[in-house]
């Protein structure tokens, strides 16, 4: 009985601490929501106002500033990047999980090494190359540059999902006369699909949030929302209201995706660490 009571008290303390942590996490989100519906004069008030008259002018300002064009660019870039990274990365992950092939050791080593190297090392030379190739301010160029970080991630993650699928099933398919390609498409791929959906989610979220690459390689036609949102930060003054409204458009889709895919994401984020 004593032990039971101790466990119960323990539980309440833990839950309390966890909820307190969530409150801390909620503060910046609250700031975004409240500021997005404030008049500029209230957003800059000293001392800060928690609640003030509600307005939707900040969103009108987003329309006026053509911010939605950059939001559309974000959707295009995230879509293109996710599709191309999966098309290249998933088969490579399968090859990694399923055996030896020439170049395996090199590819594996390079994947690890490139994870260590900061993007700035790749992106500045890419800026020079893209300049000569006319790829600056193009969706294709951005897609290639986004791959520097996301393709290794896709290969690594999908390999970890394929490694979980028992070989027997593919062997059975092969005994039944399937070629290796058919065995991959008809048995391994469907079984790994939940995992691949998770990888796709994580890649789309990462591409959606990418700032450094488009800061250097995008241009007037391809600027995504992550770079567009900074336009509301002027040299002398920041339009906090419009900025918060823009930030809200970046946050909400990811919120929905995260909650919808919650189960897979937790595993997806940690698969690499647990398997080493």
């Amino acid at each position: 009985m004593k032990r039971f009571r101790r466990r119960r008290g323990d539980l309440i303390v833990r839950l309390g601490l966890l909820v307190f942590g969530l409150c801390v996490i909620a503060i910046p989100y609250m700031w975004i929501v409240l500021t997005a519906i404030k008049r500029p004069v209230d957003a800059a008030a000293v001392p800060p106002l928690l609640l003030s008259p509600t307005t939707f002018n900040n969103f009108v300002k987003l329309v006026d500033d053509n911010y939605f064009k950059s939001l559309l660019n974000s959707v295009i870039i995230a879509g293109l990047t996710t599709a191309s990274t999966l098309v290249l990365g998933v088969p490579a992950g399968y090859a990694f999980a399923r055996g030896r092939f020439p170049g395996r050791a090199f590819l594996g080593g390079w994947l690890l090494f490139s994870r260590m190297v900061p993007p700035v090392i790749f992106i500045i030379p890419l800026f020079l190359f893209f300049h000569d190739l006319g790829l600056i301010d193009s969706f294709g160029g951005l897609m290639l540059a986004y791959m520097t970080g996301l393709l290794p991630f896709a290969i690594w993650m999908s390999a970890s999902y394929f490694a979980d699928i028992p070989l027997d099933i593919e062997d059975a398919a092969r005994v039944d006369g399937c070629t290796r390609y058919q065995a991959f498409v008809l048995t391994a791929l469907p079984l790994a699909l939940p995992g691949i959906v998770t990888v796709a989610n994580l890649i789309a979220i990462a591409a959606w949030g990418e700032y450094f690459v488009p800061l250097i390689l995008a241009g007037p036609n391809t600027t995504p929302a992550t770079v567009g949102v900074v336009n509301f930060v002027g040299y002398d003054a920041i339009n906090w209201g419009a900025m918060a409204a823009a930030a809200l458009t970046l946050v909400v889709p990811v919120f929905l995706l995260t909650v919808a895919a919650q189960r897979g994401l937790l595993r997806g984020l940690t698969a690499g660490a647990v398997k080493g």
């Binding site: 539980l11 966890l18 088969p91 092939f101 500045i124 290796r180 946050v251 919120f255 995260t258 595993r267």
Partner: protein, 296 residues
């Protein structure tokens, strides 16, 4: 299956894996290996964006200049300050959070998911939010401090406080990230082992120290190394929060390379800092790895 058939199948297998893997290998070489080699090469040139037609090899001159540059020691110090600070704080607090998230009770899955949200939020949004939080007069942090009658420092304008502000804002995403990684390790610790220790009379703290912690050491090492790598490449949370200032008080190598190369056009000199950064990352990650192996 006869021998000939088996041989043919094997041949097809090998072919299939090559066909599956090599497009990725080629793409990786294009977008990472070639630019990486280019950075190494550029560090030996005086390549300048304004005079890009007339660059030439200048040997190790960039590295000599870097060694004599009065800013270099400060920037390296800032980088290590950020990396060690964020890694230590985020991992320690993250471990605590992971322990809280470990037990089984109702609603726990939802709580774990909500802790994922900062990790998924675009870093640029995080940086902009914290810039508003740290605002001198209209910011919520100083407002909160004024409510409890504590001093309200000028966070982002004070050379001593700029980097701590960067580290504090990093905790918002860094702590949940470390917690999620370490939670995966905690969930893999053998329950039998913990119960055996408990029935032998070990206190909960002893169980954690002597059973749980050794069991999650591999995950802990990976969490530390990943955090190290991520802190080295931290960009938005510095560029948008402090712009590396005041002065260069919060400028790290990553930001400095960007500014030197693309704001001041000195791509060759920036590449030399890039080489320094890679060496620093390799050295610290290697050191961390070796230290952990010796402990094991």
């Amino acid at each position: 299956m006869n021998r000939g058939g088996l041989l043919l199948t094997r041949l097809a297998d090998r072919h299939f894996l090559v066909l599956a893997a090599w497009p990725s290998l080629v793409a990786m070489l294009l977008v990472t290996a070639i630019p990486f080699a280019a950075t190494l090469g550029l560090s030996l040139t005086d390549y300048d964006l304004v005079r890009s037609a007339t660059w030439q090899f200048i040997g190790v001159e960039n590295f000599v200049e870097m060694l004599h540059d009065p800013q270099t020691p400060r920037i390296v110090f800032n980088t290590l300050y950020l990396v060690v600070g964020t890694t230590a704080i985020d991992t320690l607090v993250g471990l605590g959070l992971a322990v809280l998230m470990e037990g089984g009770f109702r609603g726990l899955r939802l709580i774990r998911t909500l802790y994922l949200l900062p990790i998924m939020t675009a870093p640029i949004v995080v940086a902009l939010c914290w810039r508003a939080m740290f605002n001198n007069d209209a910011g919520w942090i100083n407002y909160g401090l004024s409510l409890v009658h504590l001093p309200q420092p000028i966070w982002l304008g004070n050379p001593l406080l700029a980097m701590p502000a960067v580290i504090i804002s990093d905790m918002w995403t860094g702590v949940p990230f470390q917690a999620v990684l370490l939670l995966a390790g905690l969930l893999g610790v053998s329950v039998e082992l913990k119960e055996a220790a408990q029935s032998d009379g070990a206190s909960r703290w002893q169980v954690f120290w002597y059973v749980t912690l050794p069991s999650i050491r591999p995950v802990l090492v990976i969490a530390l190394i990943l955090k190290f790598i991520d802190s080295f490449r931290k960009f938005e949370g510095i560029q948008l929060l402090t712009t590396g200032g005041p002065g260069i008080a919060s400028t790290t190598l990553n930001l400095h390379i960007y500014v030197t190369g693309l704001t001041y056009d000195r791509v060759g000199y920036a590449a030399a800092f890039g080489v320094l950064m890679i060496a620093l990352i390799a050295a610290t990650v290697g050191l961390l790895y070796a230290a952990m192996r010796r402990l094991a």
